[in-house]
């Protein structure tokens, strides 16, 4: 399983990388962590003529945390994010999602940008991105920077809106604050670290009276892209989030998905898991939101 031959260039800056993309177009691929790309190249399912290495670009590794947003450079390693204390308060969902991503060896190389652009329908970071409504910033030499919502970015299995000459440069996540906020991530896989058969993520904000002020949740692995459910989530806002409501919302979300069949899980089974997991993360997020008021400390 040796990759087909290619030329390798280590970009000495973002502009250099963009210039190469401009020159080579679809024949070039950006190489960040390589944890998804390189196995595909070993199986000769991917055969770029040129690999442009952006793993070391410091300009793509900047982390900027404000009260409203967290901006992370696309080449930031999953490991760095996993250990970043600065994210614990503002982005607990990311921390939780990262626990499910592969194994420590893959997180030591894999990047947030790489995972998003690879767009595996069962991957954790894309799910977190659509649930939280992250904004992705893309740049090309010709057209400069553009940004788009994560939900619009993911268009199909392993397929995104990124153009051949573009590089994902950063991801911006909205911050909800900590008071009354709880989040949860769960998935079902056969083995620890495997691709999920189904996954779910939720974030909920309650007021002191226990009424939901804001909600977001989504499902992964049960459709061509990770799915978020803003309309269903909106129905939770202003409500007391009793069990029956959460079950109903979970069911509706799962029923609106079109999961695929494969060796490990049938469509039926995935849809069933989706219902269960959506319910679990909604309940867990609600519980954690409640306990944040009791000053039970950061459960993150």
């Amino acid at each position: 399983m040796k990759a087909a031959a290619f030329d390798y260039v280590r970009a000495d800056g973002l502009d250099h990388a963009l210039d190469l993309l401009h020159q080579y177009g679809y024949e070039a691929k950006l190489l960040a962590g390589g944890q998804s790309l390189i196995p595909m190249m070993a199986m000769r399912l991917a055969r770029p003529s040129v690999l442009v290495d952006i793993h070391g670009l410091t300009e793509l590794k900047e982390l900027d945390v404000t009260a409203q947003t967290v901006s992370m450079g696309a080449s930031m390693r999953q490991r760095t994010l996993e250990y970043a204390d600065a994210l614990t308060g503002p982005l607990p969902l990311i921390k939780k999602a990262l626990k499910w991503v592969g194994h420590s060896q893959t997180r030591n190389r894999g990047t947030v940008g790489g995972s998003l652009v690879h767009a595996d329908p069962s991957a954790e970071l894309p799910l977190a991105a659509v649930v939280l409504g992250a904004r992705l910033y893309l740049k090309s030499q010709q057209n400069g920077v553009r940004d788009m919502d994560a939900s619009a970015f993911f268009q199909g299995p392993m397929f995104t809106d990124i153009q051949d000459t573009e590089c994902l440069i950063s991801v911006e996540w909205p911050v909800w604050g900590t008071r009354g906020v709880g989040s949860a991530f769960d998935e079902v896989a056969i083995r620890h670290g495997d691709f999920a058969m189904a996954s779910a993520a939720a974030q909920i904000q309650l007021d002191e009276a226990g009424v939901c002020r804001r909600a977001a949740f989504g499902l992964g692995g049960v459709d061509g892209t990770p799915r978020s459910f803003p309309e269903l989530a909106q129905r939770l806002e202003g409500e007391r989030l009793d069990d029956a409501l959460l079950t109903e919302i979970s069911r509706e979300a799962a029923m609106s998905c079109e999961p695929g069949n494969d060796l490990h899980a049938s469509a039926d089974y995935r849809r069933h898991l989706a219902t269960i997991l959506a319910g679990r993360v909604l309940r867990q997020a609600k519980q954690l939101a409640q306990s944040s008021f009791r000053g039970v400390g950061h459960e993150h």
Partner: protein
């Protein structure tokens, strides 16, 4: 396909800078094994699942089948051959593996040692759950993992400083 193209790399391996000409598509594991003759690192799947190829890159465990050697240019790699404190001596971890029978065929062992070494570098007193998590990306078909976990616990109990 035209003639093969080579690039020069300089990678610090087990403390020594090694220079060579490689094809860009040569993986780090093939570079270590074929170019440098360090056959202690093994290939099990070439698609990033089994962990037999694990090495330390700048002190952190990575799958060397999921890296091209050219990516490691300027970086520092430690292989199983570099784990011993000196020639013909064993590190406390290597010694614990022998003491606790944490291996049988030995094929996954270099990768396991790398993963366990990295764990102990970060956490000198891991509990069983943390040990199992740390080696969860290294598949063994001989041992059922029990004695590997015991070996790491042995190092912790011995309280010998882990190098």
């Amino acid at each position: 396909m035209s003639t093969r193209k080579f690039q020069s790399v300089a990678i610090t391996v087990n403390g020594i800078v090694r220079e060579a000409q490689v094809e860009p598509r040569t993986t780090l594991v093939d570079f270590l094994r074929d170019t440098l003759g360090l056959t202690g690192t093994h290939i099990g799947c070439e698609h990033g699942v089994c962990g037999a190829c694990s090495v330390l890159l700048d002190g952190e465990p990575v799958r060397s089948c999921c890296m091209f050697a050219v990516q490691a240019e300027g970086h520092s790699v430690t292989t199983v051959e570099g784990l011993a404190p000196e020639r013909e001596k064993l590190s406390p971890l290597q010694d614990a593996f022998c003491e606790k029978h944490a291996l049988q065929c030995g094929y996954c062992t270099p990768g396991m040692l790398i993963a366990c070494h990295a764990l102990l570098s970060e956490n000198a007193r891991p509990n069983e759950a943390q040990i199992r998590e740390a080696i969860s990306g290294n598949i063994c078909r001989c041992t059922g993992y029990q004695q590997i976990v015991d070996a790491v616990k042995h190092v912790v109990e011995q309280e010998v400083p882990h190098e």
